[in-house]
């Protein structure tokens, strides 16, 4: 054991040695700082991405809990329904109007597997019958209606109104692209080059039914560089949604016969999940009843949103309630995020291990560089170490001194790195960051706009990694110094 008094002396010498070789110290501090910023930011980005996915899964798509009839889970048959009234009476027990009631709200859904068709396209979808007023209390989908594409069940039409996703609109060719005089002037206001605007005149008033076709047309009149610079503005302002377009849905009714239902698009939503946007279509439940042969009491699913006071985003906290509801409604299956959105749940589980792996790789890579720099710096002082050992400094004390030097340097770099990353993360957690392009992440069901988040786990990992780097980087020079024969070290000979 090194005496406390000696630790102070050795630490003070280590600190003085840091000041002595300023360029070496600067190099190490900057490397650690950059690694910390990179590691922290990437991890915060991933944590934000995963948490956003979990949030969207719960608050837009699935709710905290879902009740489904066990038979519907296996056959998805229109007749595999359960009684809405009976189930509601059970759920209302947990929704008494006091602060501690675990259930905040719930909404019944009728789900019909259906084929959606327009004159230009078709797609297999889930036609979901909802009571909009109740659905709004469990899902924030109503906030995701694309401006200018309609509303969330506010229009009055003769035909039933449906709310469809952006991706489905694209598949059914309800969404297309047109360059008009009006949107061209908007593009110019938002930074489009005048030269390009002139070139785009030849493309005016032509309907492009896909993004690819629009891009191809733009490519034919502009250079590659011009296209790269302006494509996002052109795409954004030339997008046209066929609001109030007609869609016909075909499905099998309760009697097993093929039924048709024609509807008009009331609004188009865009969530962070392209698959959800492609496959889910919402309609008032009452509009479904006549054609499907169902009654208001016959439903397929209940979506439940829980109160925040029980911290319901953590599965462990809702398990007791889940079990209680399950025992009250044995004929139904009570499901949480593990079943309703297993991908979101696995992302949540992956968050900390992936942060650890990223940080480990980044720090491991810089460790070798730092170890090399440290070894070079230490080897330059070999005579001093020879002298120190000659006058009675023990191997342990030499080890401690080199280790202290390494720890101080790495701790300074880490602290500065954390400070800078915190500033970056605080700013970007408000503004969001679109790092992977507009739609690549959405095809994986994640938002393209990421809000980085920092967790305590991340800080624990940083501290752990800093310790590992300090040890790894000090081990090489320590071994070198202690291997050199004392008689040679005193002469400055490295052998």
């Amino acid at each position: 054991m090194i005496k406390m008094k000696n630790i102070k002396v050795l630490t003070s010498i280590a600190a003085k040695n840091i000041k002595r070789n300023k360029s070496r110290s600067r190099t190490i501090i900057i490397s650690v700082m950059i690694a910390t910023i990179a590691g922290t930011f990437i991890s915060a980005l991933m944590t934000g991405m995963y948490n956003q996915k979990v949030y969207d899964s719960i608050y837009t798509e699935c709710g905290h809990l879902q009740l489904v009839s066990k038979s519907y889970l296996s056959d998805e048959d229109i007749n595999s329904t359960f009684s809405a009234k009976e189930t509601e009476s059970v759920l209302k027990k947990y929704q008494t109007p006091n602060k501690n009631a675990p259930i905040q709200s719930f909404s019944e859904e009728t789900i019909i597997l259906s084929m959606a068709q327009t004159a230009r396209g078709n797609a297999g979808i889930n036609l979901i019958g909802i009571i909009p007023k109740k659905e709004k209390k469990v899902s924030d989908l109503y906030t995701k209606i694309i401006p200018g594409t309609g509303s969330y069940f506010l229009s009055e039409t003769t035909l039933p109104e449906v709310i469809i996703g952006d991706k489905l609109a694209e598949i059914l060719r309800i969404k297309n692209y047109r360059i008009t005089e009006k949107n061209l002037s908007e593009m110019l206001k938002n930074g489009l080059d005048k030269n390009i605007a002139t070139k785009l005149n030849s493309l005016k008033n032509i309907r492009y039914i896909t993004k690819k076709k629009l891009e191809k047309a733009i490519k034919s009149v502009t250079s590659q560089k011009e296209q790269e610079k302006n494509i996002s503005i052109i795409r954004k302002y030339s997008t046209y949604y066929g609001h109030r377009s007609k869609i016909t849905f075909s499905f099998t009714n309760t009697a097993g016969e093929l039924s048709f239902l024609s509807c008009r698009v009331g609004g188009i939503f865009k969530t962070s999940n392209t698959f959800f946007d492609q496959s889910e279509v919402f309609i008032r439940q009452q509009n479904l009843l006549k054609e499907t042969g169902l009654t208001t009491n016959k439903i397929h699913k209940i979506k439940i949103l829980l109160n925040k006071n029980i911290s319901p985003d953590n599965v462990k906290n809702i398990q007791p309630l889940e079990q209680e509801i399950q025992s009250s409604l044995p004929e139904l299956k009570v499901m949480d995020i593990r079943n309703t959105s297993p991908d979101a749940y696995s992302y949540k589980l992956m968050s900390l291990p992936s942060t650890f792996i990223i940080m480990f790789i980044i720090y491991l890579v810089i460790s070798f560089g730092i170890a090399n720099t440290m070894t070079m710096a230490i080897m330059e002082r070999i005579k001093e170490f020879g002298m120190l050992r000659s006058i009675g400094m023990s191997k342990k004390e030499i080890k401690y001194m080199i280790m202290a030097e390494s720890i101080i340097l790495i701790a300074i770099g880490t602290l500065i790195g954390i400070f800078i990353s915190l500033i970056i993360i605080i700013i970007t957690s408000h503004t969001g960051i679109n790092i992977f392009g507009s739609s690549s992440l959405e095809s994986f069901g994640m938002s393209s706009l990421i809000y980085p988040e920092i967790t305590i786990g991340l800080f624990i990992i940083i501290v752990l990694m800093t310790g590992i780097v300090a040890i790894v980087t000090a081990v090489f020079p320590i071994n070198k110094v202690l291997k050199i024969k004392l008689t040679n070290a005193n002469k400055g000979v490295l052998s």
Binding site: V9, M387, S390, I391, S394, K395, T487, N490
Partner: protein, 239 residues
């Protein structure tokens, strides 16, 4: 303790360092150098001894072995009636810390510490209090004529001044022996003169045994005992 049976303990007790039949050979790829070739020597307390000889004669090897920095291939080194050969790393380090002060040819001061801090360092690693360290360092630096340069770092001192700091450092923890390897090799005549005066004075006042290897005739003239070695053997030993 590693004294062999039959040795005359009363005779050896006056001798603080006894070297018995020391051999040390350095192997390089082409040649073998016999740095010590059956060397027998002894030193008494308070000696002021110069070891002289041509380059490669074994002077530095001899000092390194006495100081516990190196081990002989064969033979024994008995200091204060204890063999220091085959001591554990920890024990030999402790032995050096408590008993031996080193003066190196190129001073080997820590450039990040001031003259006073360099002097205090070895005491700081022992059981001295902070004020004891400070007082002793100041006293020694005054003694070697550096009272006005105590807070200067080595880079601001001349070669002679740095070597005087090295002497003060070697003496700081009151060791029994000072081993100096060519201490005046890098000094001008004035600095050498000053350094020798200080070393002689401290030798007399503190009764510390000084053993130094040297080529320098000015140092040899001041020595009270001169041991000449060649090819690892003692050629002459004069008082």
């Amino acid at each position: 303790m590693n004294i062999k049976k039959g040795q005359n303990k009363s005779e050896e007790s006056e001798k603080v360092i006894i070297l018995k039949d020391l051999y040390k050979t350095y192997h390089s790829s082409e040649v073998e150098v016999h740095a010590l070739n059956g060397m027998n020597l002894s030193f008494e307390r308070g000696e002021f001894t110069a070891i002289v000889g041509p380059s490669g004669s074994g002077k530095t090897t001899l000092l390194n072995i006495i100081g516990g920095l190196d081990n002989p291939d064969k033979g024994d080194v008995i200091i204060n009636n204890k063999s220091i050969i085959n001591l554990k790393e920890k024990d030999i380090t402790e032995f050096r810390k408590r008993n031996i002060g080193f003066i190196f040819q190129s001073y080997n001061l820590l450039p990040v510490l001031t003259a006073r801090e360099n002097t205090e360092l070895v005491m700081m690693l022992q059981d001295y209090t902070k004020s004891e360290c400070r007082n002793r360092a100041e006293e020694l630096l005054k003694e070697v004529g550096l009272e006005d340069r105590m807070n200067d770092r080595p880079s601001k001192l001349s070669g002679g001044q740095q070597q005087r700091v090295a002497v003060a450092r070697a003496l700081a923890s009151k060791p029994q022996f000072i081993l100096a390897d060519e201490p005046t090799a890098n000094l001008d005549s004035k600095s050498t003169e000053g350094l020798l005066y200080i070393m002689e004075k401290l030798n007399k006042e503190e009764n510390i045994t000084f053993i130094f290897s040297t080529h320098d005739q000015r140092v040899v003239k001041k020595a009270r005992r001169i041991i000449k070695i060649e090819d690892g053997k003692v050629i002459s030993d004069e008082n």
